[in-house]
Symmetry: C2
Subunit: 417 residues, 2 copies
């Protein structure tokens, strides 16, 4: 008898009919003899509806109260699923954040989990019941409702799986796993059977929306293997996410990700002297804008250009700050490009194989796609290209690395990346 | 500086615009220097929407989970009102049932309040904040969410007012007070400036929907004076509800109530012997049906008819039980009338004035309204009439006792009732 944590997303619970289908699936798993903890998101659209009400009352609703409001979405889902499970003869009890408890700090809207207490969940399971836990919510030291950030029901599931030492953590969503590229962009994309935490972190961070970033970090830290599956089909094994093993290294590139939600800014003609980066990026960070890639052009006559990317939603704020900085340090000017695309190849095989970057640049050059910025990590190479080339770049890189099978004559270890 | 508990009903909070208006009213009261505790109901229609979702998943949703679900309605209202108050520069904190805490038993769906802990509310007030408390909900010994029954946000308000030793408890609703009769039935009905708890209890129990019955009982027990007011106008003083005083005795009849939601059942031709009532009403009570009025006809040849009334929603169940009883005890038969009307005159003045019943029967006889059943208490006389006469009876009794001014030559103390 295994202890399994299942998590169902908002689309999987988006209607009465879908809640009924999820209940059948849970009952089916329990009939196999497993002990089940089910973590639920709010019904699709519910969180937006709730935040819309708050938005109609205040431009910036107070975060503590916004959490009280938003938490009702998961509370509702958990009660509805428990009600349906009981109809199917499957004893079930809903548990809210304060009841588990999922203890968090008081950082409303993006609270961090301090601990997930397994006692009440274990008692519920020992009584032969399914524990239906409201995801996304916790409770702080004051007994106040907190929420963990958008998409954080994944995080609740992983935290519980770790605390309960669960045998498995299954993330049910509207796609049947992690793909080598977005199938909407690249028709040849295929589901990955296995992927490492590190790759998944790069993929999640780069805009693949299947798993929430922090939940993958947590799963890696506590050795919780995840399975990402579709709640709409029984036909797929989904994608297994876990620690890297030797077999993974044989796959050079696991996937190609495309992030269209990026903007680029340049501060031009600044004196290149020590402390320059701090003078530019200090104020940007202080304004709460997260900078992604940064390049600094080779300095000519003592002046240089610095270019960086931010999430598009932050462009306006970043521009405002940057103009202030430019005036202060006597820069020649500020430029921006609202929409650029970041295309990345990700794979743990890169650690031991060389030549990926070279091949990537060749492939893009052959299509006359100009590379505007480059950044690399051990298992990822990202390039920024003009927005209109984003999808094309994704497709040709997928053809070259995934469908086509990688780098000819790639040398294990060493060589030029 | 006074400590005031205000309670706003679902209609008062039924839209974004109305929530804004309530926030203005709360702020206005606070600007006068009062400490404010505001108890909120769910937005109008929200509780029905939530129960509808549960009803789509189960014929009889499990009560514990139904409470988890239904409690989200008040949680939402409390957060929204707190958000709006903050926009108006009025510091406010929402508090849920488990946070106050409002401790209850575990009788889900109609839990009884064991205690309302004033500590956290007082701390909130001491910090200069408005405490916005989610009504209708509590928490049991297991830390589970409970609800107190429909309309029970009034109860939350009164329980808090008692625990906090508040200077006042204002119940805001969509009417501007308690009326001498339903203005929809009787155009001449007028607002009462003052009414005693006992009268209010009779009025509430008899179908006047302004205040929830249990909240009036609680207010009487803990000496919490209530004011019932409209949240839609500033023009009315509302109705004050408190302990009886001498001035109230001068008013013979405070109001006429009409309950159209009654059914009548008769079990005919039963042997009139000791224990008969128990054999009939034991099984009825065991089935959860509450019996209101009972009459037993004078026995002829050792057989008798027993007639009683129940709420219309219980008729089907009561009939089923009664047919079983009839077969068992050899009764001649069972009859029922689905819709009858109960009309009552209520007033503490009746305790010391005679002749009310006689005048009531005269007035109805003059209109040829046949009285089918009669029941009396110290401060109330009720009659059951055919449904079609309910409104007519209300109007003529209102003319005779309220507009007309009562019983001519009524003798204080003694005399015939």
């Amino acid at each position: 008898m295994a202890l399994i944590v299942q998590k169902y997303g908002g689309t999987s619970l988006g209607s009465i009919e879908r809640i009924k289908a999820v209940a059948e699936r849970v009952k089916h798993a329990r009939d196999r003899g497993d002990s089940l903890v089910v973590v639920v998101s709010a019904m699709a659209g519910e969180t937006n509806r709730l935040l819309g009400l708050a938005g109609a009352l205040a431009e910036q609703p107070e975060p503590r109260e916004t959490d009280v409001l938003a938490a009702t979405g998961e509370q509702l889902s958990s009660a509805l699923l428990a009600i349906r499970l009981q109809v199917l003869g499957c004893p079930a009890v809903s548990l809210l954040g304060y009841q588990v408890p999922i203890a968090t700090d008081s950082n409303h809207g993006r609270a961090r989990i301090m601990s997930a207490n397994p006692a009440r969940v274990l008692k519920t399971l020992a009584e032969g019941r399914v524990a239906v836990v409201a995801g996304y919510q916790g409770v702080d030291d004051y007994g106040d409702v907190t929420t963990l950030g958008r998409g954080a029901s994944d995080l609740t599931a992983v935290a519980l799986a770790a605390a309960l030492k669960a045998d498995g953590c299954e993330i049910y969503t509207d796609v049947d796993g992690v793909y080598t590229a977005d199938p909407g962009v690249c028709a040849q994309a295929r589901r990955l059977a296995r992927i490492s935490y590190d790759e998944m972190l790069e993929m999640a961070g780069l805009g693949a929306k299947v798993l929430q970033l922090r939940s993958v970090e947590l799963a890696r830290r506590y050795n919780v293997p995840l399975v990402v599956k579709s709640s709409f089909t029984e036909d797929s094994e989904g994608t297994w996410v876990g620690h890297e093993d030797r077999s993974m290294e044989d796959v050079l590139v696991s996937g190609i990700t495309l992030d269209q939600n990026q903007s680029k800014l340049t501060i031009a003609g600044v004196h290149d002297r020590p402390g320059l980066a701090a003078r530019i990026f200090g104020p940007i960070a202080a304004s709460g804008v997260v900078v992604d890639m940064i390049i600094q052009n080779a300095s000519a006559d003592g002046r240089t250009d610095v270019t960086f990317t931010v999430a598009r939603g932050d462009l306006h704020r970043a521009l405002e700050v940057l103009r202030g900085v430019a005036a202060e340090i006597g820069a020649a000017g500020v430029r921006s490009e609202e929409q650029v695309a970041k295309v990345s190849v990700v794979g743990v095989g890169m650690r031991t194989h060389a030549g990926v970057a070279a091949k990537m640049f060749e492939v893009l050059a052959a299509e006359r796609v100009n590379i505007e910025m480059i950044s690399t990590s051990e298992i990822k190479i990202s390039v920024v290209v003009r927005a209109k080339y984003g999808e094309l770049a994704t497709r040709v890189l997928h053809d070259a690395f995934v469908t086509g099978g990688g780098v000819e004559g790639a040398a294990p270890e060493g060589g030029q990346g």
